[in-house]
Symmetry: C2
Subunit: 199 residues, 2 copies
């Protein structure tokens, strides 16, 4: 508790950010008010504009300001390939590789029963409808690019089951030894998978 | 880069918070837009209200919404004692002890030449003017409660020099072994100080 109610309110509001406890929130509020009020006002404006402007692409479900996002509208992309990712950050990572020219579907999360995240909390129904679309939106191949965590694998498994009734080829990103790493320092599970998936 | 400009702007604005890199900023933006837009709007409002409402107490320099903060106005407090702290968080820590009933002076920082924080960046001049005030605002004792870090110690030293010309008793919080700790696990410097300052 400080000598100013609006400062206490700011510390409480900052604590609603993920990973920010009362100590970091206090440090942030002190920094903004003492050294960078301009940053505080800019953040306030950015929050309001993002809440007002950002919605989900009607096709791929990623964050966008338009009905359909620029990637989905790009005529250069192969509309027959659909890569399923958990978040826009994962989509951005794949884009940075420059190795994929198909479309995306962004789940906006992953199944996580322990955290109370079930099939209705991520966009599985919309994914099904997207894949079930008739030509010219027909999907030839669905590439599962959920994370290689227990939850990402479970999500990939559920999607595979969900799409069994549809005539679509489902693939998964290859598991293996990361480029540049020495086997000695790679965990055993990864080596075992790289061995099983050897080409 | 995402499919939405206002999302990218939000990620950049969040990165101006201390201790927040691009990864945490992306995670925060995703969380707010996907799961807690209410928290985003509340934070925006809290930022604006704090920037608009929070200023420095004319007497003790802490953050307050008034000309003089509630602590400085409290007639129950001993106006003859002035405790110098680095930040409002340090002031709050001392208040929680319930062991101090005097007034405070909040430097809003500490001397740190390596970070480019000099005497003009913290409120040393205002502290001097505050201590030099005639009765009834006369300060009998000035208690240095800057942190026991290299920078806090240097700041305390500079204040001691600065106030030499004024007729005021300057004391420092005792250094010693924390309550509840076993000597075996206390660092040697602390034990040496506790030995030297033994009562
Ligand atoms: Zn899209
Ligand atoms: Zn005050």
């Amino acid at each position: 508790m400080s000598q100013a109610q609006s400062l206490d309110a700011l510390v409480r509001a900052l604590q609603r950010l993920p990973g920010v406890g009362v100590k970091s929130a206090s440090r942030m509020a002190f920094h903004l008010l003492q050294h960078d009020r301009d940053a505080a006002l800019q953040l306030a404006q950015a929050l309001q504009q993002a809440v007002q402007g950002v919605r989900h692409c009607a096709l791929c479900n990623t964050f966008t300001e338009d009905e359909i996002c620029p990637t989905c509208l790009d005529p250069q992309r192969d509309a027959g390939q659909l890569c399923v990712v958990e978040t826009p950050a994962d989509q951005a990572a794949l884009e940075r590789t420059g190795a994929y020219r198909g479309l995306y579907f962004v789940l906006m999360g992953r199944l996580s029963p322990l955290d109370g995240v079930g099939a209705h909390d991520i966009a599985l129904r919309r994914l099904f409808e997207r894949v079930a679309q008739p030509p010219p939106h027909e999907v030839r191949e669905l590439i599962l690019a959920t994370n290689f965590t227990a939850e990402g694998e479970a999500t990939a498994h559920v999607i595979t089951q969900l799409l069994k009734t549809l005539q679509v080829k489902v693939t998964r990103l290859a598991r293996g030894v990361p480029i540049g790493s020495e086997l000695e320092y790679v965990d055993l599970g990864t080596i075992a998978h790289a061995l099983a998936d050897r080409r």
